[in-house]
């Protein structure tokens, strides 16, 4: 058992507790409040004067799959041999020894959703994992956690421009994506009727098989889109097929905010600090997240690690506040909102009794540029402790 005492607790859900205590047992938060009784055998961490928040959740990071400090040898996020590869699984490409996991822990990031890259229209399944461990299977919270898809420049650059293959245009991308969805739907329908005794089952197809949960709305399609029209295309196709879906990046979201609000689309916004590496992210800045937040669109921030190093996720939220975002909302956008985006809010993202004991003790205001994660705890275990 572990007790964090005398803490300025910011649970994200519910009011802050000044001078509070959090009790952790079996990897879960078992008590939290002003004065819960601390068992005598508990290991005590004194957080006097320091802020404690839930562990930070990064909703879209290629950690472990696009490794730091390596060339093509560590690059395993884009299977660029075919624009439609739903049968890829990010879990099979993750190296838990990627040094970025350590940086994440040092920065207070305890959970990450890891999707494949965006070179492919349909890239494969994402997973959500804890940022500590040696064996990826032991780190998993949710797998699969959505199917990665992409619109806009990346697929048409990877195929049309570099390989003279489809897709070469945005409409080509949309058509291919639709085709994949239609084909999977037909496959799923046939299989279903065969199971009901009507006709033969279709012959096995790995891609269609992987798409079945998507087409049935059981798993979200997570669609990479920057430009406003790409965002709209993503919504158009998803609504057409009645999919569960999220949008990733949403760089020009400010222009279509009412559409996103109308459909209550979950958006992971970022990497907002990125440079203008391509035409479609020309307008990246904090207008999109501010507009989405104001309109009540469910949104969270992402660094798209390693595009911006994941450790700068809290700093991103801080800059958003300097642009005018409400502080609580900004903090929520890197904790609970990210957890909701990733589909794991039942376990992480806020400090509540019964939730995973993922928390961070900060040296100061967690969103300020100069603040450290002094202690990072995942599943009740201290995974980082800053040496002062």
């Amino acid at each position: 058992m572990l007790a964090i005492v005398n803490a300025e607790i910011v649970p994200v859900v519910g009011d802050p507790i000044s001078g509070g205590t959090i009790l952790v047992d079996g990897g879960k938060i078992v008590a939290m409040g002003k004065d819960p009784e601390v068992p005598s055998d508990a290991r005590i961490i004194d957080a006097t004067g320091r802020t404690v928040t839930p562990g930070i959740v990064e909703a879209h990071a290629h950690v472990g799959i696009s490794e730091q400090g390596l060339g093509s040898e560590g690059s395993d996020h884009n299977e660029t041999t075919d624009p439609v590869t739903p049968h890829m699984r990010a879990i099979d490409g993750i190296n838990p020894r990627d040094d970025a996991f350590r940086e994440f822990r040092e920065a207070g990031i305890t959970t990450a959703l890891v999707p494949p890259g965006s070179a492919n229209l349909v890239g494969g399944t994402a997973l959500v994992l804890k940022c500590a461990g040696e064996i990826v299977d032991d780190m998993v919270i949710l797998d699969p956690a959505g199917m990665k898809a992409a619109l806009g420049e990346n697929p048409k650059g990877a195929y049309g421009k570099r390989q003279n293959k489809a897709p070469a245009t945005r409409m080509g991308s949309a058509a291919l994506l639709r085709e994949a969805l239609f084909a999977a739907k037909e496959y799923a329908d046939k299989r279903e009727s065969a199971e009901g005794g009507d006709g033969d089952p279709p012959s096995y197809n790995a891609k269609h098989e992987a798409m079945i949960p998507v087409i049935r709305g059981e798993m979200p399609l997570r669609i990479h889109c920057h430009r406003a029209d790409d965002i709209v295309t993503a919504v158009r196709i998803s609504e057409e097929f009645e999919l569960d879906y999220t949008l990733e990046h949403v760089t020009e979201g400010q222009y279509v905010v009412d559409l996103l609000a109308e459909h209550e689309v979950r958006c992971a916004v970022g990497p907002t600090l990125q440079h203008g590496s391509k035409v479609e992210n020309r307008e990246r800045d904090f207008r999109a997240p501010l507009a989405l937040a104001e309109a009540g669109v469910p949104m969270c921030f992402t660094t798209d690690h390693p595009v911006i190093a994941g450790q700068f996720l809290p700093l991103t939220a801080g800059i958003a506040v300097s642009w005018g975002m409400d502080y609580d909302l900004a903090l929520r956008a890197i904790t609970l909102a990210s957890a909701e985006h990733a589909g794991v809010a039942d376990r992480v993202g806020s400090l509540e009794v019964g939730k995973d004991a993922d928390l961070v003790i900060w040296s100061g205001d967690p969103l300020d540029y100069t603040t450290f994660a002094d202690v990072t705890i995942i599943d009740g275990c201290v995974v980082h402790e800053r040496q002062v």
Binding site: E153, K156, G157, Y159, G160, K161, N164, K165, A166, P167, A168, T169, R170, M171, G172, S173, A174, A175, R178, E179, F182, A183, E186, G199, D200, R227, A228, D229, V232, T233, R236, Y255, V256, D258, L259, K278, V279, E280
Partner: protein, 384 residues
């Protein structure tokens, strides 16, 4: 409610009303005429005797698919990796924030048919849209599927045969591909209707179903007379609806086209003979079509010619023999008929969309510009 009074109204149906008024509400035209009673609650715009025409209709443009002033990243006109891509739709490539739309408004164009390019034999679905920029393309759409873009002549054989060493290499090759896919679509339709279990979903054939069912036309890019005749031959053989796009050498076969009532979108007549098949490009075809009674309209093929010059093109056609009335009709009502949206736009009539332009001079004078452009009853552009 908005009322414009004291205008020199060209209704687009051949009628001219001087000192006329027009009333609109909820995006629709309530009434047009001289001496209308203007309700007291209406906002009034005094045209001071200026020309008022229907909003112009561009029957063939690529706006939104090729962003102005951007490189390959914003170029989504041609899915040129395969000569047969009927399953793509212009709707999915349109960037409603393309500055090209401003060109349309600057030229008094309120509706446009947006098409995929002509690199492919079967290029994808076309859409009809309003040009007032909205946050999403979907909100600009009048009709999300106005036809299937097709192409004959030089472009497909250059984009595939010459550049990538694959079919089509020749005009006969293009024709064969078009025929093949239309036959297969017909077959697919039959089998799907019979629920043949051996025939699975096919995105390309699926996209061709509206064509073979006769619901939407093939819109066939063709310049040379022989390409136009090939287009007609194939379309009639398969018994599908069709229109001809560009029809550059149409003056050579105007009688033949008139006899069949073939709809043609003519242009861009202000361009040059940029390739061999454009020989004779100019206003002779418009004049011949007017004379023979071919149902035609004029187009800029934006961005080949900037859309803002559509009314200048109409003026030039008028001078070349079309006459003012025919010229104006060919960029308004006839263009709307070509696209299949004449029930809503193209003329100033009660019940139609309130799309119109107040000009600072004769609209057929290229130097005139819109003083105000109105779409769905709202002023969306103001000029000098």
């Amino acid at each position: 409610m908005l009322a414009i009074r004291n205008a020199l109204i060209h209704t687009g149906t051949g009628e001219t009303i001087s000192g006329g008024s027009i009333l609109m509400r909820d995006g629709r035209i309530l009434d047009v005429g001289g001496g209308l009673d203007i309700p007291s609650e209406a906002d009034i715009l005094d045209a001071a005797g200026a020309y008022l025409t229907p909003g112009l209709v561009e029957a063939h443009g690529h706006v939104g698919l090729a962003d102005e002033g951007v490189g390959w990243e914003g170029d989504d006109v041609n899915e040129r990796v395969d000569p047969v891509t009927p399953h793509v739709s212009a709707l999915d490539g349109i960037n409603p924030r393309d500055r090209g739309f401003e060109d349309f408004l600057a030229g008094g164009i309120t509706s446009v048919q947006i098409k995929p390019g002509s690199a492919n034999v079967l290029g994808g679905s076309t859409v009809a849209a309003k040009t007032g920029m909205q946050a999403t393309a979907d909100r600009m759409i009048i009709n999300p599927n106005t036809g299937m873009k097709a192409a004959l002549g030089e472009n497909p054989k250059r984009a595939h045969g010459a550049e990538h060493n694959r079919a089509p290499y020749t005009r006969m090759g293009s024709a064969a591909i078009m025929r093949d896919w239309l036959f297969r679509a017909r077959e697919y339709l039959k089998k799907r209707e019979q629920k043949d279990p051996k025939v699975g979903y096919d995105a390309k054939l699926e996209a061709l179903l509206p064509v073979v069912r006769g619901e939407v036309p093939l819109r066939i890019h063709c310049h040379r007379a022989d390409d136009m005749l090939t287009a007609i031959r194939i379309a009639e053989e398969l018994d599908v609806l069709y229109t001809l796009e560009h029809a550059t050498a149409g003056f050579k076969i105007a009688g033949y086209l008139a006899a069949r009532g073939v709809r043609c979108a003519v242009g861009p007549s202000m361009s040059r003979e940029a390739k061999v098949e454009l020989e004779g490009v100019g206003f002779e075809t418009a004049a011949a079509f007017e004379k023979h009674g071919v149902p035609y309209c004029l187009t800029t093929d934006h961005p080949v010619v900037r859309a803002m010059y559509l009314h200048m093109i109409a003026g030039k056609a008028s001078a070349a023999g079309v006459g003012d009335e025919g010229a104006l009709a060919s960029v308004t009502l006839r263009a709307a008929e070509h696209v299949g949206i004449a029930d809503r736009v193209g003329s100033l009539e009660t019940g139609k969309d309130a799309d119109m332009v107040i000009w600072n001079g004769d609209p057929l004078d290229g130097r005139s510009t819109p003083r105000a452009v109105i779409i769905d009853g709202e002023i969306v552009h103001r000029g000098r």
